[in-house]
Symmetry: C2
Subunit: 189 residues, 2 copies
Amino acid sequence: MTTDPHPWATTLDGLHAQVWARLARGVADRRAPARHPTLATVSPDGWPEARTVVLRAADPTAATLDLHTDLRSAKVAALRATPRAALHIWDQTAHLQIRLIADVTILTGDSVAQTWAKVPEASRRAYATTPAPGHPIPAALDYQTTPDQTFFAILRCKVQAMDILHLGPEHRRAAFDRSSGWCGAWLSP
Amino acid sequence: MTTDPHPWATTLDGLHAQVWARLARGVADRRAPARHPTLATVSPDGWPEARTVVLRAADPTAATLDLHTDLRSAKVAALRATPRAALHIWDQTAHLQIRLIADVTILTGDSVAQTWAKVPEASRRAYATTPAPGHPIPAALDYQTTPDQTFFAILRCKVQAMDILHLGPEHRRAAFDRSSGWCGAWLSP
């Protein structure tokens, strides 16, 4: 009787499972929408900030997500001041808006050496810019890239809450949080 | 000699003009990436929040952008506490990340009546949900939509600063701000 091409959206369990399926696809497939979440943080001055990041790992059991970054970036300064982030994904195919709130731990040094060893040479250039990201330079290309593990950090995002919106023939919105064991509740959209 | 398909990215003026061209396209074309920015705010508790919004107007001369929202939404509560937002757009075709910081004024009542009169009937349902957006409901579809101008607000975003990243064959990043008349400066990417 339903014309909804996304039957998983009609139950809380189905929605929750779909979110993790989309996140897993983001890790595996560089063309998937969840590959590039928008990460929002609060700057040390208390202002909102947002930028694209790359989703590198998703663990549905622990409900954690990993991002990689340059330790000198503004997002690290923001997370040191306010160690919480919002992650936002709009998945056009699934008609799904995924909004996550996570507590973020900044991993560096020995704890990231094993991951660093697996980062392809080409990708390492992302953690290598001199002068540091965001510093003024006289001309557009007055910077060098020299990969250096010193600058490499993993942002481990421990998801605390989800706000999920499905824009099908009907709109459905649900909240899930860690403290209730992710059982979920419907919200007015 | 250049293989860059985006010659506008090589000058500060070119980048700045391209940002406003992409924003204008977002207003006019519902399939353009700038149609759906991510709006990041700081919640009344001081935490980051992010969600998709629809870009409704862009004025390059005043450097303002308009969004429409339900006055009862969490983003309005956030903006009442911290009246500043970050807007984020990733334009895949232009290889362009647009990050804007804006001071936000919440317009309601008589000041939005003229705009409300032009909102199509189908779109008005977005400012009409009972109970209010985000309120718990027993089942997924336990809500009604009854359009009501009382709930309609324009978020007028006065852009204060831009951080623009072009991911061409070379990466180029530039900052522009209102106080310097948008003349721009290159940053290390």
